[in-house]
């Protein structure tokens, strides 16, 4: 932080000092995210941060997106997980570049981890980067990665209150996918109500109802992301 922003009130010697600061502890991540965003823009790479609960269908969505887009886009996929390479192995079968980001114990990706992953790939050889965040609807809300767009996947099997319970993550979402629509009836979950909840929080977000496993709604997701 710059010296001119630091205001100091000095007390008598051997007494008490009050140091006034304006130092944001979350700013370091925001600065790194901004660096990532600039780097990606310079290289002509569109990046999408894909967030959602464990089991909501993030990997299946990515699997379908890559399947549809690989003919016309040069894609790389980052996969955030605590551990294992199970998900990257699935995506790598498409022949696209993948980087597994294992956070160990952290519950979200942050801009620094993404920066490290960016250093592992040739940004000149891709034009679309899909980043799958760690399965969690809480912490990723506080940590921007530098992606241009943010997508949140929820599924009807998570119950009817996912949006109202985790409203903050939807504030930054450009696209929200309501997945596993075929199970809505069995789960007695009203997908229209979930859509309404998203619109209440963020009317700018595009909501797509999908059955990712079967490829239903994938084209609409692609359209909404403009990729």
């Amino acid at each position: 932080m710059s010296e001119r922003r630091r205001k100091i009130v000095e007390a008598e010697p051997t007494e008490i000092y009050d140091v006034e600061l304006e130092e944001d502890l979350l700013q370091a991540n925001r600065d790194l995210a901004e660096e990532n965003r600039r780097l990606l823009a310079r290289c002509g790479v569109e990046a999408i941060d894909i967030m959602g609960c464990i089991g909501s269908g993030k990997t299946t969505l990515i699997h379908q997106l890559v399947g549809q887009l690989k003919g016309r886009r040069r894609i790389a996929v980052f996969k955030g997980d605590l551990t294992t390479t199970i998900d990257t192995d699935i995506i790598a079968r498409h022949g696209v570049e993948t980087v597994q980001i294992n956070t160990g114990k952290e519950c979200h990706l942050d801009a620094n981890l993404v920066r490290k992953a960016l250093a592992k790939i040739d940004l000149g050889s891709i034009d679309l980067l899909l980043i799958e965040n760690v399965g969690n609807l809480i912490c990723p809300a506080d940590f921007q990665l530098g992606a241009e767009k943010r997508l949140v996947v929820i599924s009807v099997t998570e119950g009817p209150y996912m949006v109202v319970k985790h409203s903050r993550i939807f504030m930054d979402a450009d696209t929200v996918v309501i997945n596993k629509l075929d199970l809505a009836e069995a789960m007695k979950v009203d997908a229209d109500r979930l859509e309404e909840d998203v619109k209440h929080v963020n009317s700018n977000a595009t909501v797509v109802k999908a059955i990712c496993r079967d490829g239903v709604g994938i084209n609409t997701v692609i359209e909404s992301l403009g990729v």
């Binding site: 051997t14 000092y17 979350l26 506080d142 504030m171």
Partner: protein, 123 residues
């Protein structure tokens, strides 16, 4: 869930400031947290106490003030608190980006900070 990491950054920041002026001990640290972050004051407090142990920060009071979120609307120029919607079946009120004045989607301009504002120390 990232309160521990945030508390570590906080203690590091305070120790850095303390070291600049050969401080005997830190007595108070003031922190402002935006209510649109996912930082829990209680967890932050316990992590802070734990990390501060054995340093000049140990035993200091962490005073946390919560900042209300503020949105700004490009459509009508509104700047102020977020709109909220609630339902009798919910225990809390849900913030919305919908502009309270014109209904357009507004953007967040405050509420996501976690700011160290003041450190009181004995020299």
């Amino acid at each position: 869930m990232h309160e521990y990491a945030t508390a570590r950054l906080l203690v590091e920041t305070v120790l850095r400031e303390a070291a600049r002026r050969s401080t005997k001990s830190v007595t108070e640290v003031h922190l402002v947290i935006g209510n649109l972050t996912f930082l829990s004051t209680e967890q932050l407090q316990s992590s802070y106490d734990l990390i501060a142990k054995g340093t000049p920060v140990e035993g200091s009071r962490l005073i946390v003030k919560e900042n209300e979120g503020v949105v700004e609307c490009d459509g009508c120029g509104y700047r102020g608190p977020l709109n909220t919607f609630s339902d009798a079946s919910f225990l809390f009120i849900i913030p919305s980006l919908c502009c309270p004045r014109c209904g357009n989607t507004a953007k967040i301009v405050a509420g996501r900070e976690c700011m160290v504002t003041k450190i009181r120390m004995e020299v």
